[in-house]
Symmetry: C2
Subunit: 338 residues, 2 copies
């Protein structure tokens, strides 16, 4: 018997943030509960996600995806339980992950959802190490950067949801890993939990001096989540043939007028390659990534930490805190008990 | 019987240019004629070359090659005739090409020289279309940019020694070619001599408006010789999956403090790749490039023009004129009759 819920609570975009977002840029709205049509699935959201890319969707600047419209529910990856399915691939009670948003109830096309395997424990791994951020690390490192054993791999935003997985995969590939993150807690996690060979706290260390110490043989791979001054420091240490993956530029997302920060001529000096990528372009290979990542997690080769905020209504605060670097581990919002 | 010449005239670097070079940064010096030791070859230079990369060698800024020292002969590709050979691979009378410099007589290690085939007519082609600039175009376009039939290929510095060959190879690969150069003469050469599908005169046209017209379906490949504002304009038209080869950044070479001009985040939006390269890294494949380029030239598929300055003592003027864009065709200096 289908569960019917009369209303849906959603967190919608109320205003386009000017610079750094504030909670008043969002509003909690009660709506009529949605219904699933043919080929659609109605999902009760259990956990929803806050991630840096969402800042881009709040802006009207030209990008790779359409912006969220004012009054529209914020887009987000989420894990939930199927309530009703208009598609034979899913049935009530299945756990699924997809772009379900900051809301209690979501309707999605069945083809946009992935099943969360029962063996995945906790299922929230489908929102990070065995989900979109893990896939981002996997394809960005292995496909874009082509790491070789012995390479020095530097990761900015190294304690973030993507960066922590990048460092651990790079170690599995036989690389030396140097992580950059802000603050002593994150630095401790880089060295302890995530197994980086070296960690630099850009808020308290002399970044360039530390890079020189820790990358004495230069940088072969730079996995860049941050951009800005941190990246400018790393660029001075590149080796000939270096590969740079541009995954994110979180230092620039809240700038009203981002400043160009890079001299393309540097790529000639180092015969280096800089490549941007989007995990969505690798959708055809998500099963491959999920299988390998799930095995590495199960074997303890990839370790993780979650930073959970309780209550859908606090998603904006969780998002802003994540942008401020207040989270320790993958920032998630718990929306409902299973 | 070996020819013996008592003195050698060389053009040496007298001062490091501050910004745009002037003739007083160079000096003509008479030296004792050099002699070839074992494994070395003494060459009488016939034609020497002026190229944008030489500006980099005049500076002490960190780069891919050591700077020319003050008082040292300017480095340059040159074609000459062997006078004496201490190596069995070459004999007196052979025409050779190598990094022989701005001078009348040069001694080089035999392994650094390439023979100029007798069939290459004129032999100065070994200094451009079938030499270093042609190889630069060949590997930079085919290996770095991976052009596909139907791609729109934009080239900055399109009338330069590298750019003119890039456009013609791209046409041979089935691409649509859009060349950017400065002034009506160069624009006319792009459309007439070098066979570009479209030409933009950045000095007189509205660059961005013209790019929009000529790249209505976006830019798949950008072969960048210039950097700066021209490149910033092209970057706004990139297609998803675009490939950008950074060959040179001539707009920046004379800036006292080059300004960063690029947002790496743009590469995410377009899932684009930007790669620097040096032709010297492809030395193992120069024979392949020379054979294909020579055939294309012989068949009239690759056309060329030379801009010859007579007299070694005018090499600095020829170099400065080339930086100013005054040459029409490959800038060369004729040092001696054969």
């Amino acid at each position: 018997m289908a569960v019917r819920v009369a209303t849906n609570r959603v967190v919608a975009l109320a205003a386009r943030p000017a610079g750094f977002p504030s909670e008043s840029d969002f509003e909690l709205v009660e709506q009529a509960a949605p219904e699933a049509g043919p080929g659609e699935v109605l999902v009760r959201v259990l956990w929803t996600s806050v991630d840096p890319y969402q800042r881009g969707r709040m802006s009207e600047a030209r990008s790779y995806a359409k912006p969220v419209q004012l009054g529209e529910v914020m887009t987000a990856q989420a894990v939930g339980e199927v309530l009703e399915s208009g598609d034979s691939r899913f049935g009530a009670g299945d756990l699924v992950v997809g772009q379900l948003g900051w809301q209690e109830l979501a309707v999605a096309r069945a083809g946009t959802l992935r099943r969360v395997p029962a063996a995945l424990d906790p299922p929230t791994l489908a929102l990070h190490a065995v989900g979109a951020t893990g896939f981002t690390a996997y394809f960005g490192l292995l496909d874009v950067c082509e790491p070789k054993p012995g390479d020095t791999v530097v990761v900015s935003g190294a304690a973030g949801a993507v960066g922590q997985v990048v460092g651990q995969i790079a170690k599995l590939m036989g690389c030396r890993t140097v992580g950059i993150a802000g603050g002593p807690d994150k630095r401790a996690d880089l060295l302890g939990l995530y197994g980086y060979d070296a960690a630099i706290d850009y808020k308290n260390d002399d970044l360039r001096a530390r890079l020189k110490e820790e990358c004495a043989d230069g940088v072969d791979v730079y996995f860049d989540n941050c951009g800005g001054d941190i990246s400018a420091g790393v660029h001075t240490r590149l080796n000939v043939g270096a590969r740079i993956a541009i995954c994110g530029q979180i230092s620039q997302y809240n700038a009203e007028r981002p400043q160009p920060s890079f001299h393309p001529g540097l790529l000639i000096v180092f015969r280096a390659r800089m490549q941007g990528f989007l995990v969505s372009d690798y959708a055809a290979r998500f099963d491959e990534a999920a299988a390998r990542l799930a095995r590495w997690v199960a074997e303890g080769e990839i370790r993780w930490r979650e930073h959970v905020t309780e209550g859908l209504e606090h998603a904006p605060r969780a998002f802003i805190g994540m942008l401020n670097g207040e989270n320790r581990g993958k920032a998630l919002v718990k929306v409902a008990d299973r």
